[in-house]
Subunit: 214 residues, 2 copies
Amino acid sequence: MYERVIAQLPLFAGVEDIKGALENLGARGADYAKGVQIFAAGEKSGRLGVLLSGGADIVKEDAAGDPVTVARIGEGEMFGEAFAFAELPLTVSVYAACPSHVLWLSAEGILAGKEARLSANALRLFARKNVYLTERIYHLSRHTLAEKVLSYLRSVRREAGREIFALPFGRQGMADFLGCDRSALSALLAKLKRAGVIDYHKNVFRLIENEQGP
Amino acid sequence: MYERVIAQLPLFAGVEDIKGALENLGARGADYAKGVQIFAAGEKSGRLGVLLSGGADIVKEDAAGDPVTVARIGEGEMFGEAFAFAELPLTVSVYAACPSHVLWLSAEGILAGKEARLSANALRLFARKNVYLTERIYHLSRHTLAEKVLSYLRSVRREAGREIFALPFGRQGMADFLGCDRSALSALLAKLKRAGVIDYHKNVFRLIENEQGP
DNA sequence: ACACTTTTGTTGTAATTACAACGGATTGTT
DNA sequence: AACAATCCGTTGTAATTACAACAAAAGTGT
């Protein structure tokens, strides 16, 4: 039923015998209702999940015990993969944000299997995620909110290759990404617009400053 | 001459025929004098470097063209690996912080080689780095400096498993890690100490708050 | 011991930002 | 259309933080 989606997964790119590969990976599907816990912090299962349909929240408990959503996973995306391959217990929990279908795979199977393609794909995915995480760290490391915002917008513009570009989330999501308060972000964006540094409408932005810098 | 160091590298853990592996990886050594550029932003070489001796700075240009040191690499550590495996051009440059010897390896060789152990090791290293980067992002995402500091100190304490623990860097390094101003950090640490929340001397810290939270 | 460099703590000020509260806009549902 | 729910911008205030400047402290090499 999910063959189509699975065949499209970057993890299986270039793999001929997907059915055989899935067997070697001990693949198992599972359904989760909205709000149900998919993965629990503390587990050390050696498995990684692929979201074939639905959506999921990656949640971490802060020091006070309150849940903090660190990421939101969509269709075709993986979760728990870093912990599985690093052989570390999860420090986060995963909850279904809506009714979801998850494909469970064995990390060990990806390493040990005959399909060299699988581990090559996994390696490339990890590498890309590493680059992505490093870039986010760079934005978050700026000392002022304005610099965080501009640093982020520049990187999206570079990625898009266009003057006008859309962000993948709304204000709250953007604030979470940049580690700041939503209303403070809104206020700053308005200020930058008044100053003529940026222009925007909803999630569509335009950077007025030139390519080199301010 | 560097056989000892190479044999200790996590990348080669469990590899029997290291010499053979090095040949398959097109391994080449190179020396760099202090201040010399090892890797240039924009390059797309498909190679990764391992620092066999010395030290190196990973430097990124900010929007104004000024260099920002994003990381410091020590002996036995790799650099450029994420870009090599992601098949992306470097967005950072690498400079020798002191006279250094670098072992160059082909990323392609790790994927294609007979030694399955190598790609398994690489995968585990990437996964660990992923976990590390994600945790740093979590600290950086806190909204106040005090929370950043405490979140970071808690994670170091958990890692150390002791009440009293040492940080791997000085004040400036800590400030860079947390994305804040050094003097603001010094002032805040003093304030937290007066408040009885933490105690410290130089890089040795103690968290007074209990395990659960404030 | 000496000069020198580097690191760190302190202070003051201006600017920024978190936070809470509120109202308008948008969306989806019945 | 009415309704609820969610998202977003604005405002005000208190608290935080960046930044610059300076002095103390610690390390470095001669």
